[in-house]
């Protein structure tokens, strides 16, 4: 009889294991994202290195311990243009509080970006992603897209539209180091 009980037990274990594996596969298939790894809120922001219009290299990891407001934009995009002056207004204040505004232009001619900057009177760092590497890395679809990165280097929010002055202020405050 002991042998039979054992057999029954083994069968139950086998069945449970197989069903659990199948369930795990299904759950994995549902939760895994598309072929491309798309960044989501809560993910670690991937590090990158880009040069700004003045030739200074910026690494995201340089800003560890500080908040980063990472804004992807293009000169032809009206909402991008609209939110820039607000960012300019708050840029200095928040830099002192440990929150950095970094803007990344997605591969336009350098002169075009310079003309835009001079025209708008912008002074925050404008990074130039001339090979669109960082744009692909962050999987940018609509412009503007803004990533709020906290002092620990985590993406806490992804904003895929233009922002009002008030929203920008709130977002900047949300990633301020304590």
């Amino acid at each position: 009889m002991a042998k039979k009980v054992n057999k029954k037990k083994n069968r139950l274990i086998f069945r449970t294991v197989l069903l659990v594996i199948m369930a795990a596969i299904i759950v994995y298939a549902i939760t895994s994202k598309d072929k491309v790894t798309v960044l989501a809120e809560g993910d670690k922001a991937p590090d990158f290195e880009l040069v700004d219009l003045d030739g200074n290299a910026h690494r995201l990891s340089d800003y560890k311990g500080e908040g980063v407001f990472l804004n992807f934009w293009g000169t032809w995009c009206p909402p991008c243009k609209k939110e820039m002056p607000h960012m300019e207004d708050m840029y200095k204040d928040f830099e002192a509080k440990g929150v950095n505004i970094l803007t990344v232009n997605v591969g336009e001619p350098k002169v075009k970006i310079e003309l835009f900057r001079d025209d708008m009177g912008l002074s925050f760092p404008m990074l130039w992603d001339k090979n669109k590497t960082v744009m692909d890395l962050y999987n940018i679809k609509p412009l503007p897209t803004t990533f709020l990165i906290n002092p620990e280097g985590k993406i806490i929010k992804i904003i895929k539209q233009g922002m009002t002055e008030e929203q920008i202020r709130e977002f900047l405050e949300s990633i301020q180091p304590k």
Binding site: K8, R11, L12, R15, T16, L18, L19, M22, I25, I26, Y28, A29, I30, S32, D34, K35, V36, T37, P46, D47, F48, E49, L50, V51, A57, R59, G74, T75, W76, P78, G107, E108, P109, K110, V111, K112, E114, L115, D119, D129, K130, N131, K132, T133, V134, M135, D136, L137, K141, P142, K160
Partner: protein
Amino acid sequence: MSNIKCQCGHENPFGTELCEKCGRPLSEKAKKSDIVDMRYEGSSRRSQTYSSSIIDKIWNFFSSVKIGVSIIAAVLIASAIGTIFPQKFYVPATTDAEYLAYYERLYGTVGKLYYQLGFYDMYNSWWFKILVGMLGTSIIIASIDRVIPLYKSLKKQRTRRHPSFMKRQRIFGEGEIVNTKESLDNAEKKLKDFHYNIKREDGAILAEKHRFSRWGPYVNHTGLIIFFIGVLLRGIPGFYVDETMWLREGETRNIIGADGYVLENRGFILENYTKEEAEEVFGAALDKVGSVVKNYQTDVTLYKKKDGALPGSDDLEKMKDYSIVVNKPLTFNGYSVFQMDYKLNELSTMTFHLVEKTTEKSLGEFTVNLSNPEKEYDLGNGSTVDMLGFYPDYDGIKDGEPYSKSPIPNNPAFIFQMNTPDKPEGEKSFIAIQQTLEVEENDYAVKFAAADTRNISGLTIRKDKTLYILLLGGLVFMIGVIQGMYWQHRRIWIQEDSEGHLLIAAHTNKNWFSLRKELDKLRESADLPAYIDRQDPELDKLEQEGDENIWT
């Protein structure tokens, strides 16, 4: 649930229809029937046992063929519905609201429902994945539940069967034979000639061939499972990439889907056949349509990010120069970049003259590279032209400013400042195609002289590490199909019963006609009782000689 003990002494699992060893009918159903159901050898399918725990209940659910067929039907129906309207992939939208708007605008309420139920992105919808997962589970469990008992009972089968088993076979015969020993010897010899495996114990023969044909369906299912695993692996990053990108001549761009690689387009070439070189083959076609393309080619340079360098940095090393032509992709590190598409003649540079309006005398010319314009163009004779504004895709004035609707130079417009020795403080002018605006009357003008164009290559980036897994799955699948289709598992039992009668019975999983033909040939060389095919008795009566009255 207890075992069933057969009269022969063998203990059978609960649910067994026919004793695994001697073949006596055990269930009421089997006892009553004229011909026993030989599917799975009358063995106990594991699903019919133990349904005490929730695990067993789930297991039994998936073990059911009815459930399996229902799941297949559900997958089929869902897939069919998924083809009614275009899938997400073909819809020009990026946000959820845009997708909804698209389906609602084009297909009304049905379209809205189609979107809401997830049919618009079916292969990524949770319910489709669950269905396919359930199908996989059903295939695995149903197979396990059948192949193991089948294997066991075929392995355990005894040479001598109980007469009640023999009598319930579809092909059965019984009769008095003069010399049973001689008959059995002759039968054994003949059956060996037919390539049967023979087991003989005193007064009984079991002849069997092509048992492996019974494993065909399970081999086939194993192939399917391997195929599923391959498809599943495609979802894991690093196994499968299928992306497309446009790359302009002169442009250097990150390769989508291939992290750390950058590609430069050094030129796109489109060549046509000339009449002279291809008269023989394409002469008629050339006369008819004018041109036949000989070659689509993109000359590229591949760069790789140096080890340790961060994405976006200029720390790149050149890997190789290559000319991508159709079906000859650039390959590197498991990736292939294919020539797929092209666009010709996008504006790339514009050349202008600086002229004095009254004399129309040129002070020199300068060329603006539209993908990399400069701030100042020095004409060399004390005159310069400054770029004050550049609008690559000019689309009128918005909010008092020229507006560019995209970064692509479809309709370039500029604001130039012309600095000449005459007018050192400069004159401003807005220049668009066939349009010039001046704030006040200028002495000098920038006049368009010439334009140059460039081409754009459409490239596809592919990586597929699952291909060989899919191939293996397909191969195993086909082996299973062939195994089950082209061979039949045949068994012939001949035995002498206690009263000295000779009994003959036969079974096959398909192609009964051939089995009967083999039996007829057997009866030519061995003295065996006439048999009858009880699902087709008429046929047999006509063909056979000998005692036909045994059934009446």
